[in-house]
């Protein structure tokens, strides 16, 4: 993932980019069904708005968040 974008302020390119990556992590690494993986990725991105991520921390934070979410998924 490039580290030059953060999913803030309705940045659609950033959203698309992270959505694809986070869904893939949830689905491939944690064997979560694709539809549910997409729901998780979307929720993580929505939740991230509170945290005002920036270019330097967005990727690491989001990967941590999807990993935590996938672990908690039942």
């Amino acid at each position: 993932m490039p580290d030059s974008i953060a999913p803030e302020a309705g940045d659609e390119a950033a959203y698309e980019h992270y959505f694809a990556t986070l869904s893939a992590i949830a689905a491939l690494q944690f064997q979560i069904p694709a539809a549910d993986a997409e729901v998780l990725a979307n929720e993580v991105l929505l939740a991230s708005l509170r945290h005002r991520l920036n270019e330097s921390n967005a990727e690491r934070w989001l990967v941590g968040a999807i990993t935590s979410a996938a672990r908690g998924y039942r």
């Binding site: 302020a9 997409e38 991105l45 509170r50």
Partner: protein, 388 residues
Amino acid sequence: MSPGLTEFSVIARQIQQEREVAATTVDPLLSSTSREQLSRLSEHSDLRTFGALERIGNLVAARLHDEPTYGLMLAELAVAIAERITEPAYPAVLIHQIRGYAWKDFGNALRVLARYDESLEALRRAERYLEDHVALTHDLAQVRFGLATTLQEMQRYEESLALYAECREVFRRHSDGRRVVLSSFAEGVLFQRLRNYRQARETYLLLLASHREIDKETVAALHHAIGSCCVELGDYPEADANLLRAIPIYRELGMAVQIQQAEMMRGRLFLRQGDCELAVSHLRPVRRQFLRLSLIEEAGLCGLEIVETLLTMGSAGRVMMAESLARRIVEEFTSASLATRAITALGYLSEAIAARKATAALAKEVREFVLSLRTAPEREFSRLTATG
């Protein structure tokens, strides 16, 4: 196009706009409202947004330590507003996040005011909101960090330690270095409070050596804490070296109170080393500085260090000085309307000195009692080492 893109874009822009509006509307609205009328603002449409609640949350954090009662009122207002926000204003995950933060701030404010049972209840409520969404794990860890602190105040130390460790792991997973440091620091403080100075010092040292990005204030606080542990462990050269590392950083950051607190610890170090004259001459200007800063309680605690030292010296002249100082501290506490329990304990010490029945251990016990009232204001003074 991803299925959630439109929703995300709309919400992200909305929140950005709300933040911009909140930056100019929330503060004037709150400051123009009397405290008695504050709760009525829960109906105000300008405050019923994610951005406004976030701003109120920041204000709670900013005011909590200087004006805890006002901080609590703001937190209570935020809870009332958050509970009124429902779908479709925001997606469910954000509504749970909004409510979780409002209850977290409320719980933390209650803790600062030593209302621990209510704090626990509020933080549990925050927990329940956030547990509903696995995407909110980082937010949940922030609530549990507060919970760990409240549990610590309730002397539920094992639960507190376990929660700090759990939070640290979540923060680490999210690469939230600042909160990883805070969690480790909190563990160290807990060990120190349990008088497990060796383990506390090890925790602090590991943190300093962790190569994490630690801000200057925390570096200073770590050296200060290590120095304090070393005093208790009898490792005096290391104690002085660490305190002397903390002080210039505090000075650089303009942290006048912390400078004096570190100097007060150096005074205790001189006493422990047996250099009573140096301890007294060092502590007197520190006490004066606290008084100059209108920090009556800190000045009193520093004065009690001096009383302890004078009683250790033991000559008739020194004991008379101790008696006079102890009486002055009682007067200062009384004029400043400080805790009645503290005044009672100080009065007891004064009388014991006047009757020539006081020991340095009693002065130390009274100091520790006064200090403990900060976290356990309902505690009663028990005359454990009193003689006669």
